[in-house]
């Protein structure tokens, strides 16, 4: 008989420690904040008919363990004009665009997904240099961006090919 008050106390303590039910019936865990739009991985770039500009991006990755994922944004005359698909750094990715004719200023922005964390824009000092590219009728300008040494070095090569009739 002397044990009854002790048992009642334990029952009360256990009830206080149990998770509370919300109205929806789920436990009250903190909500995950939404990922900002600029840090979201881009969707597959849309198919462009009769492109006059092709961006090709790849990276030399000697060690497969270092082969993370990345994508590249392109800005034409200061406005974002597209993104490459997300892919392995060592994979060659192409972005085809139809740009207005003329001498356009191209700026590329490299984004990488670190082992832990969100999509991160590569440091300014490691981004490819800005340059002009002339868009001419009847030709396709091909700009090739190649990273090496873990994005610490890049080369940018411009070439031109005849557009298919």
């Amino acid at each position: 008989m002397k044990r009854a008050p002790l048992f009642a106390g334990l029952l009360l303590a256990a009830a206080c420690g149990a998770p509370r039910r919300t109205s929806a019936g789920a436990s009250s865990l903190p909500a995950v904040p939404p990922v900002p739009a600029e840090r979201r991985a881009p969707a597959e770039p849309p198919e462009v008919k009769d492109p006059n500009f092709i961006l090709v991006v790849n990276e030399s990755v000697p060690n497969p363990d270092d082969d993370g994922v990345s994508y590249t944004k392109i800005f034409v005359d200061g406005k974002e004009a597209g993104k490459t698909a997300v892919g392995r750094k060592s994979e060659e990715r192409e972005l085809k665009l139809k740009l207005p004719p003329g001498n356009v200023l191209i700026r590329l922005e490299q984004w990488i997904l670190p082992g832990v964390g969100e999509w991160t824009r590569l440091d300014d000092s490691l981004q490819p240099r800005e340059r002009f590219v002339r868009i001419e009728p009847g030709t396709i300008a091909r700009l090739e961006l190649r990273f090496s040494d873990g994005e610490s070095y890049n080369t940018l090569t411009l070439s031109r090919q005849a557009a298919p009739n």
């Binding site: 000697p62 001498n103 200023l105 340059r131």
Partner: protein, 524 residues
């Protein structure tokens, strides 16, 4: 004053009476028959044995009771008609060494047989079937000496290698020249094997010097305990020594040294070789041989390191690791070596050439003025240009600096349109026309049509040229200095667009590793 010669105090008759007694203290006469070990004539180590070859077909056995550890040598005086062979046996009649270096009438020498207290036998035999000289006496002169600092033959195989302390001198002989007891019928020459047991834990440098011996061209090799040859040194010729420097040893470990005469039948019983070894703790100030390939590169962590080009064709690899994400310019200075034209090559983490520095000639230093590096491993490789020279006594010094890169400094490689270095109008950049054949490309954007001036300062020894290209890499204009050391200026009205500039010496052989140029793009 009274003086008198001691001999004059004895009558001549007394001297003659004592003569036989005096003679009995001289050479030991063989006691025939001595044609087997049981019949062997006892001979004190250090004494001389005398005998005749009455029965020239039988070997004459001599028994030596060796009282202490030491090295035993024997010289057998040649006699007419006899082609001597001398052999040494242990107490169980196992033949240890056989010497047959001369032909009929020649002396034979057995040198530095390692002995312990106990019984040994020497046999004297004849190889000439037509020998007929029963009367003339041969002399077998023996000598027993302490073995400290001496080679103990037979050490003719890796299995019988003589243990030596690293840090001392061992004296030995390229004699005999033939190993007549070898199982291999094609085996020629005699190898001298020594084992060095490094018992301490850690990194050490082993230096080995072999002294010169007339008539002999020595070859020194180092093996591990698996019998893998790690290095061979053969830079000297006949009558010259050999030297192994900075051979890296990871203790505890055992290494085998094999010393031999390059040419069969070449030896010298009159002049010994000295094998000097030295074991030093490795402190990162010298190369760690073998460092002849990327996998064995010596870590280059300090500001400078020393090395030698030996043997001929040696390539010394040094690993430079950049640990941080920052950008650096790697500068390297390589000193000259007498009689050699050194070449310095920079390689990437997988061993591909990034830059070859071969600006200067023989005995002159080489300078890598600056190459852009980021986090990762790089290799500096030092070679001799012809691949035929070696010098283990004169070392080179390779110094390096990692200079944090900043805007305004040239970033090599910028030698192509793909690797062009970006520059803003109004900014300047300092760079080098080096190494030989260097081309430097810069790129700038013009956002509004206007007049742009390109200024390049002059540097000694270089006549610079400047070429301006449009964004499709079509040349627009070019300018050149009138003579070496003079500046170049190019002014032009440019439309909105991207432009490239190529700077280069008028003659690709021109270079300057000391003075920087300064290049500036100015909007007028």
């Amino acid at each position: 004053m009274f003086t008198m010669s001691p001999l004059k105090r004895f009558p001549k008759k007394l001297i003659l009476c004592l003569a036989p007694l005096l003679i009995s203290c001289g050479p030991t006469k063989e006691k025939e028959p001595n044609y087997s070990y049981q019949q062997a004539t006892p001979l004190k180590p250090g004494a001389t044995g005398v005998g005749t070859m009455k029965d020239s077909k039988e070997a004459h056995w001599w028994r030596l009771d060796v009282p202490t550890e030491g090295v035993l040598s024997a010289k057998l005086g040649g006699i007419r008609d006899i082609d001597f062979v001398i052999s040494a046996y242990d107490k169980d009649r196992r033949e240890l060494v056989r010497v047959d270096e001369t032909t009929v009438g020649g002396d034979e020498q057995l040198l530095d047989l390692g002995v312990s207290p106990g019984v040994y036998y020497l046999t004297v035999s004849n190889k000439n079937p037509a020998a007929n000289n029963p009367a003339q006496e041969y002399k077998l002169v023996t000598k027993l000496e302490p073995s400290a600092g001496r080679e103990r033959e037979p050490n003719f195989s890796a299995l019988t290698a003589q243990p030596i302390e690293a840090g001392g001198v061992v004296r030995g002989w390229y004699w005999p020249t033939k190993n007549l007891l070898s199982d291999d019928p094609n085996a020629q020459g005699v190898d001298h094997w020594f084992s060095v047991d490094v018992q301490k834990q850690g990194l050490f440098l082993l230096n080995v010097d072999v002294s010169e011996v007339p008539k002999v061209d020595p070859v020194l090799e180092v093996y591990d305990t698996n019998n893998y040859k790690l290095v061979a040194v053969d830079q000297g010729g006949i009558g010259e020594g050999e030297s192994l420097r900075n051979f890296g040893v990871r203790g505890p470990a055992k290494y085998l040294l094999r010393l031999r005469s390059k040419y069969d039948n070449a030896g010298n019983p009159d002049v010994p070789f000295d094998l000097m070894t030295e074991l030093l703790p490795y402190q990162g100030r010298t190369e760690f041989e073998p460092n002849n390939q990327r996998a064995d590169a010596t870590p280059f962590e300090g500001d400078s390191i020393q090395g030698t080009i030996a043997p001929a064709g040696d390539a010394d690899w040094y690993k430079v690791s950049v640990a941080t994400e920052a950008k650096y310019l790697l500068r390297a200075d390589l000193s000259g070596v007498p009689g050699m034209d050194l070449v310095l090559t920079l390689k990437d983490s997988v061993g591909n050439d990034l830059l070859v520095v071969d600006n200067a000639g023989k005995e002159q230093p080489e300078v890598l003025t600056g190459y852009g590096v980021t986090k990762g491993d790089y290799y500096l490789v030092v070679t001799e240009k012809t691949g035929r020279k070696a010098d283990s006594r004169n070392s080179y010094t390779l110094a390096k600096k990692l200079i944090p890169w900043q805007t305004g400094l040239e970033w090599e490689p910028n030698d192509s349109t793909a690797a062009v270095q970006g520059l803003k109008v109004g900014d300047s950049v300092d760079g080098y026309f080096a190494p030989k054949g260097d081309l430097d490309w810069y790129e700038f954007n013009v956002y509004q049509k206007g007049v742009v001036e390109l200024d390049l300062t002059g540097v000694i020894n270089v006549t610079p040229t400047m070429t301006l290209f449009d964004q499709e890499y079509k040349p627009l204009a070019a300018a050149s200095a009138a003579k070496p050391g003079e500046p170049v200026v190019l002014t032009r009205e440019l439309d909105r667009g991207t432009y490239d500039v190529r700077l280069q010496p008028a003659d690709p052989a021109q270079n300057n590793v000391r003075d920087k140029y300064s290049f500036r793009v100015i909007a007028k």
